[in-house]
């Protein structure tokens, strides 16, 4: 790729909310005025010092930022190649990167005078983060969650309820994350005047993909100075890697490095039972094609008629048939590379991480780690990989136990 392109990768989206052909504002008229209000409010907040002062204070004292950038010596040694760092966003309050973004959106909602917050959730991490911040600010919170996910993520459902949120099991469609998003949109369209929709990933109508990316970019910004501190002034990672469902943790890690040509960027999609088999995966970029859903144009898993297909993954957090529009664009222009990892590979990485580093990862970053395990052995020892450990695995131990053949009764 020509080097002169590199100063332009951080300038998106354009005024229509597009990254190349991706993104946009494909929503019903009822929502359009709201989306324009939100965009105006966010534009104001972006350059408002008091907004960022409030964010920084909460990030530091409530979330526990900065999260450590941890050199993983035994992983590095066992793989025998590249030097591996883990960005420890699983140590955040609520156990994942999701809260970085939720804080930003809730502060915006308060500025807009909204009193009721709705959210969709898959694995439950975004739902828990939203319920948490709503409790912190005394806001009413309603979380839409696919009925199937309510079953397989029982501990997170209980957490949300403890935090005072109403969890609505979604049975429309097939009862998964995409259906939860549909029902959240239906709620929003019905309660436009007092309700703020807190989207959990870098998808949805403009300005959500850009706004969520900006809030999550704290991850990559911290990596920049933390690595310089540990490896010397000006030292950048050679490779950054993150798992992708909708792609918010990945966008947060990637974005601050888009204009650094020496940094390889790799996104890891959920390959489920394998991308070659009949759509039993969630790899939208590898196995999908461009379409329009949930307010944006992006790569989608769909049939010949443009009907949306269900994704499949061991990880409920990656189980979405689309991907953020900025990833779709980075894929098409070749700035980032996207690969997929199967359930089986992710499970192996999950166990390897527990044994080598004493860190129980969520199944989502286990996908990223599985790819690290593939490439690290062949890279030189001075090659630095930074992988985003975007969530901890407590929520997943029941699923993993089942796959490993342990009979573990759930607490209910």
């Amino acid at each position: 790729m020509a080097n002169d392109l590199f100063n332009s990768f951080m300038s998106g989206p354009d005024e229509k909310g597009r990254f190349g052909i991706f993104g946009g504002r494909f929503v019903s008229e009822t929502l359009m005025p709201l989306i324009l209000d939100l965009e105006a409010e966010y534009e104001k907040a972006k350059t408002d010092d008091s907004f960022w002062a409030e964010m920084d204070d909460l990030w530091q004292h409530y979330v526990g930022r900065p999260s450590p950038l941890y050199y993983a010596p035994r992983l590095t040694e066992a793989l025998g190649g590249a030097k591996i760092y883990l960005k420890r966003d699983e140590l955040n309050h609520t156990g994942a990167h999701k809260i970085n973004n939720v804080l930003g959106q809730i502060i915006l909602a308060r500025r807009m005078g909204k009193t009721r917050i709705i959210a969709e959730t898959g694995a439950g991490q975004h739902g828990v983060a939203t319920a948490t911040v709503c409790a912190r600010f005394g806001l009413k919170c309603v979380v839409y969650m696919g009925a199937h996910d309510v079953e397989r993520q029982a501990p997170n459902v209980f957490r949300m309820r403890l935090l005072g949120a109403e969890v609505v099991p979604v049975t429309s469609g097939r009862g998964t994350l995409k259906d939860a998003m549909n029902d959240a949109l239906r709620d929003w369209v019905t309660n436009v005047r007092d309700t703020f929709y807190c989207i959990g990933t870098v998808a949805g109508p403009h300005p959500y993909p850009a706004m969520v990316r900006d809030f999550q970019s704290i991850i990559g910004k911290e990596v920049r100075w933390q690595l310089a501190e540990q490896e010397g002034e000006g030292r950048l990672p050679d490779t950054v890697i993150a798992a992708i469902g909708g792609g918010s943790n990945a966008m947060g890690l990637f974005y601050p490095f888009l204009d650094d040509p020496s940094v390889n960027i790799i996104g890891v999609e959920a390959g489920g039972k394998g991308v070659d088999m009949k759509m039993e995966h969630c790899a939208s970029l590898t196995g999908g094609r461009p379409g329009v859903l949930h307010g944006n144009r992006t790569y989608l898993l769909q049939d010949d008629d443009g009907q949306i297909l269900e994704g499949f993954s061991i990880s409920a957090g990656l189980d979405y048939p689309g991907i953020g529009p900025e990833h779709a664009w980075l894929h098409d222009i070749g700035r980032a590379q996207y690969v997929s990892i199967t359930d089986k590979e992710a499970l192996e990485a999950f166990q390897f991480c527990c044994q080598q580093e004493g860190i129980i990862p969520a199944l989502e970053p286990s996908h990223a780690l599985a790819h690290v395990m593939k490439i690290a052995p062949d890279l030189p020892k001075d090659h630095i990989i930074v992988m985003n450990m975007c969530g901890r695995g407590d929520k997943d131990i029941f699923t993993v136990a089942r796959h490993l053949g342990f009979d573990m009764e759930e607490s209910d």
Binding site: K16, G24, R25, F26, V27, S28, E29, T30, L31, M32, P33, L34, S172, G173, K178, D179, N182, L185, R186, V189, T190, N191, V192, R193, G291, V292, L293, H294, G295, R297, L300, Q302, D304, D305, G306, Q307, I308
Partner: protein, 263 residues
Amino acid sequence: MTRIDAKFAALKDQGKKGFVAYVMAGDPDFDTSLEIVKGLPGAGVDVIELGLPFTDPMADGPTIQKAGQRALDGGMTLKKTLALATEFRKGDDTTPIVLMGYYNPIYSHGVETFLTDAKAAGIDGLIVVDLPPEEDDELCLPAQAAGMNFIRLATPTTDDRRLPKVLENTSGFVYYVSITGITGSAEAQATDVGPEVARIKAKTDLPVIVGFGINSPEKSQAIASVADGAVVGSAIVGKIAEGKPVAEVLDFVKTLADGAHRA
């Protein structure tokens, strides 16, 4: 002049309000659905709104969601939806058909190909829920260039500042969504709708038709009396879901149409 323009011009001459009926193409199956659509003009329907099934109908309530699911489960597609319109046109060359749905099946088919195929099938207008004026380049402008109406939704959140933008590239008629919400939910109130319709009519010469939340002959009449016509969808689709015989569905449609025509 499209069939839609001609129909509303004729209604105006007769001093009559219009009645628009929505059914989902392929619900509960292709043949039954075709039989229902063929019977609509005889039941007093002025404009047929034909639902294009989609897996993720974000603006629709449970009744129409399930209708789409039944149609898809029965193998309905965009191509078959156009085939249904083609069949209907063999016996009726005047009743306008508006295709209503979501953008992805159309985008997936390819916009240019879709417009050619839809025109050939006798489709007169499009209502695409997830294409606001901000995305007019996608389908609205190409459709109008191809001689098809693009009917826009105006809603209670479309304020005066925004209204001109919504009306700018609208043709055929303006579809006023009576409530903030999804199809088949809250009931529309004529007292709320009347002033809103007047507000829109002050800015356009197009007919203003009101839909969402209209479920009985009385409601159809009350709403049509403060607008240029009324749309009923979920209430009709609900009868189809109950498995009522086609004749009974059409009898119900006739009571709704009569309601609007009394206004």
